[in-house]
């Protein structure tokens, strides 16, 4: 009686997979900006993943997962019919969906999966949505079609210029703001360094900015404090007080350091895993 069965899977780009998973209770309550905690199997760790989409009637949720280490790579090998052992959620506070006028979404890499449901909800609320989605190179571009459907304007950037506009999302954001666009809100998710840059730019323009933070989590229910971040000089727990915070008040340098706490252990875990897979295990 596995509960969380994978009913569909697609590869969006190299090392980026989209999953549809049966999880009726979560689908019923999910809101944009929330996430789940997934544990693959008995020996698995608990990792947070954003709810990309969901359907309450059919009882499924959708996740977009980038393979960056042991657990996400292992999940990448799960196929339709397989099941994951535990999924808890929806966790975190939903994004505050309001009428802001113009909203600019700035997301990098798999951060676009984090932004998508938020962008969609903001558009449905009546905002004009300009989405800037950025990737390293052409073959890593994901969700472009999806963003075109729910945005008034989409700017795709690639670092190497192999597709869309050459440069970083932050370059596109800067030109947009300098061209006189006056958003009521900028929403950002992606690499910490990018979110930090976004915050610096919008601060100069005095634009309200939310960042969806991604610190290391364990339980996701406020019980451990692994996910603590400093916002306006105060320690808060991203899993219960966030994950969205006013980007102008976040200590991004601390967040970046804390995300690197286990790089040594993560390397060991990955090496061991790759060894077992290559031995056909």
């Amino acid at each position: 009686m596995p509960k969380y069965v994978i009913t569909a899977k697609r590869k969006l780009a190299p090392r980026v997979n989209w999953f549809r998973i049966q999880a009726p209770l979560i689908a019923r309550r999910a809101q944009p900006g929330q996430f789940v905690i997934v544990r693959l199997h008995e020996k698995g760790e608990r990792i947070p993943l954003t709810l990309f989409d969901w359907n309450a009637n059919e009882g499924f949720i959708e996740l977009v997962v980038q393979e960056v280490g042991k657990t996400t790579m292992e999940m990448g090998r799960y196929n339709v019919g397989d099941h994951v052992l535990n999924i808890t959620g929806p966790l975190g506070n939903p994004t505050h969906i309001d009428m802001y006028g113009v909203v600019v979404i700035v997301c990098g890499g798999v951060g676009s999966a984090v932004c998508y449901p938020v962008a969609k909800a903001l558009r449905e609320r009546g905002n004009k949505v300009i989405s800037i989605i950025g990737f390293r190179t052409r073959e890593l571009v994901i969700l472009e079609e999806e963003f075109r459907r729910i945005s008034d304007e989409v700017i795709v950037t690639t670092d190497d210029g192999s597709y869309g506009v050459k440069g970083f999302t932050t370059d596109a954001l800067r030109s947009l703001l300098e061209s006189g666009v006056k958003p009521g809100l900028v929403y950002t998710a992606g690499p910490v360094i990018m979110m930090k840059k976004v915050a610096e730019i919008t601060r100069r323009h005095g634009v309200l900015t939310y960042a969806s933070l991604n610190p290391i989590m364990v339980d996701g229910t406020g019980m451990c404090g692994a996910c603590r971040v400093t916002v306006e000089g105060r320690t808060v727990f991203a899993c219960v007080d966030g994950p969205d915070f006013d980007a102008h008040k976040v200590d991004f340098d601390e967040l970046a350091k804390r995300l690197a706490q286990y790089t040594e252990e993560e390397r060991i875990a990955l090496e061991k895993y790759l060894n077992t897979v290559s031995r056909g295990g």
């Binding site: 020996k43 760790e45 808890t88 451990c224 706490q261 252990e265």
Partner: protein
């Protein structure tokens, strides 16, 4: 054999424990427990005070019929003893291990006036262990269903006891647990070497055998709302515990390798990080660790760190040894294993290296002043006495406040200043049909007090189901 010996035996039958040097190398249990012969001999020392008088029973928050089970035990009737214990205590293998017996049942034992008090805890544990190893199950008769449905939020000792009691009254009971494994602190906090998880799992099996359903991965307030529960169930019991860790509000507290005790213990126990990389969850294996605090949680964190291979583990406490809140037995175990204690010190800053990793704790010396509001002497900093202790990890074990994730969902639920749920003498909260107990109403307390709450709340819930009050 000792049964019915006419002369009172003043000395306790000692309990075998593993040698410190051996036990700090693994996470296996430290205290080994009695054999049947030893248990019968220890049980035979009991004076069999009449039940309505027996002071030991009065000291037990769930009122285990202690002389009753000891009588069966000294006759060698383990099943009989188990059935008597489980009339009021569904988790004997757990309480026998983790209750602060010296402050509860054993504290009151009459034998204390002429010799050693009866080792009630270890005997309770013996009965549970022997029964488990020999496949002895208590016979329980569940009355026909009353048709009433009760939702229990949280699967710690409070929730589990309420669930067992309500089920034994014939109600339909379903438990919702946020984590992937039921048990609360029993599975994520208290380490394997004090409470093997196999025992928690076995005692949980008893609950499913009597028909209690436990659903994991359900965060009430998120996955389901409390309102959902109130529509679908006739009553709700909140046993959500006190799981939110306090951090020190001093510079450097977010440096790398500074853990809350909850995070450290959750990684080690629930996620089995001590078996990394066989298990996926990582943990730092530091050389020099400072544990801040003086309670059970601090002892568990310090002893776990030793077992992960730390060479030096310091417990830093701002009061004196006598004022520590940890169980005495656990302090002794920690000392034997080589944990070092520093008393009358308090951290003022954590110093980090350029990568953001903690490298020292700055401490200030303290002295004891007048008793504060809680009646305990208040520690006062001695100006100019700061010094540094070099460490490469810190575990903060200075207490926890109630889990709040549910509270946002239901503003009518009244809380105290400390964040605990307000209840009346019948465990009723300010929301009709919602009851609460355990750490959620007390703040940090003990397993058996949480169980006592669950036990009494079950009776109030039963009354509510019958009378609507």
């Amino acid at each position: 054999m000792s049964t019915g010996g006419s002369r009172v035996k003043k000395k306790r039958v000692p309990v075998p424990r593993r040698e410190p040097a051996e036990r700090i190398r693994d996470f296996n249990e430290v205290v080994l427990g009695y054999t049947l012969e030893q248990a019968m001999e220890e049980a035979s020392r009991c004076l069999q005070c009449p039940l309505n008088f027996a002071p030991c029973v009065k000291g037990c928050p769930v009122h285990v019929n202690i002389p009753g089970f000891l009588r069966k035990l000294r006759e060698g009737d383990v099943k009989g003893a188990l059935e008597i214990i489980m009339e009021t205590n569904p988790l004997p293998g757990i309480t026998g291990r983790v209750c602060p017996q010296e402050e509860q049942c054993e504290r009151n034992c009459i034998m204390g006036r002429i010799g050693d008090r009866i080792n009630i805890g270890k005997l309770e544990r013996f009965v549970a262990d022997y029964a488990r190893k020999h496949g002895i199950r208590p016979e329980v008769k569940i009355p026909p269903s009353t048709g009433k449905k009760i939702a229990i939020v949280g699967s710690g000792p409070a929730g589990l006891t309420a669930a067992a009691e309500l089920r034994k009254m014939g109600h339909e009971v379903r438990v919702f647990e946020a984590l992937h494994e039921p048990g609360g602190v029993l599975v994520y906090g208290i380490p394997e070497f004090r409470l093997p998880k196999e025992i928690v799992r076995y005692e949980l099996e008893y609950l499913s055998k009597i028909g209690v359903e436990i659903l994991t991965d359900v965060v009430v307030g998120k996955t389901l709302s409390l309102r959902d529960l109130l529509t679908e169930y006739d009553a709700v019991f909140l046993g959500t515990g006190a799981g939110t860790p306090n951090f020190l509000n001093i510079p450097g507290v977010n440096c790398l390798n500074i853990y809350s005790a909850n995070e450290f213990l959750t990684r080690v126990n629930l996620m089995k990080a001590y078996l990394f990389p066989e298990y996926d969850t990582p943990i730092k294996k530091p050389n020099r660790v400072a544990v801040i605090g003086g309670g059970n949680t601090a002892m568990d964190a310090a002893r776990s760190a030793l077992r992960l291979g730390s060479r030096e583990v310091y417990v830093l406490y701002r009061r004196t040894k006598e004022l520590m809140t940890a169980r005495q037995e656990e302090v002794e175990n920690a000392e034997e294993e080589g944990v070092k204690f520093m008393f009358l010190v308090s951290p003022v800053e954590f110093v980090c290296d350029d990568k953001g990793r903690v490298k020292a704790v700055r401490l200030i010396k303290m002295r004891l002043g007048e008793p504060g509001r809680d009646g305990r002497p208040r520690p006062i900093p001695i100006p100019g006495s700061e010094f540094e202790l070099e460490v490469d990890a810190v575990i903060i074990a200075i207490g926890q406040t109630p889990n709040r994730i549910l509270f946002k969902d239901i503003p009518e639920l009244k809380l105290t200043e400390k964040g605990t749920i307000v209840v009346d003498e019948k465990y009723r909260t300010t929301v009709k049909g919602v009851f609460a107990g355990g750490d959620a109403i007390r703040g940090e307390s003990t397993v058996v007090k949480a169980m006592g709450d669950g036990w009494k709340a079950a009776r109030s819930i039963d009354e509510y189901l019958k009378t609507g009050e």
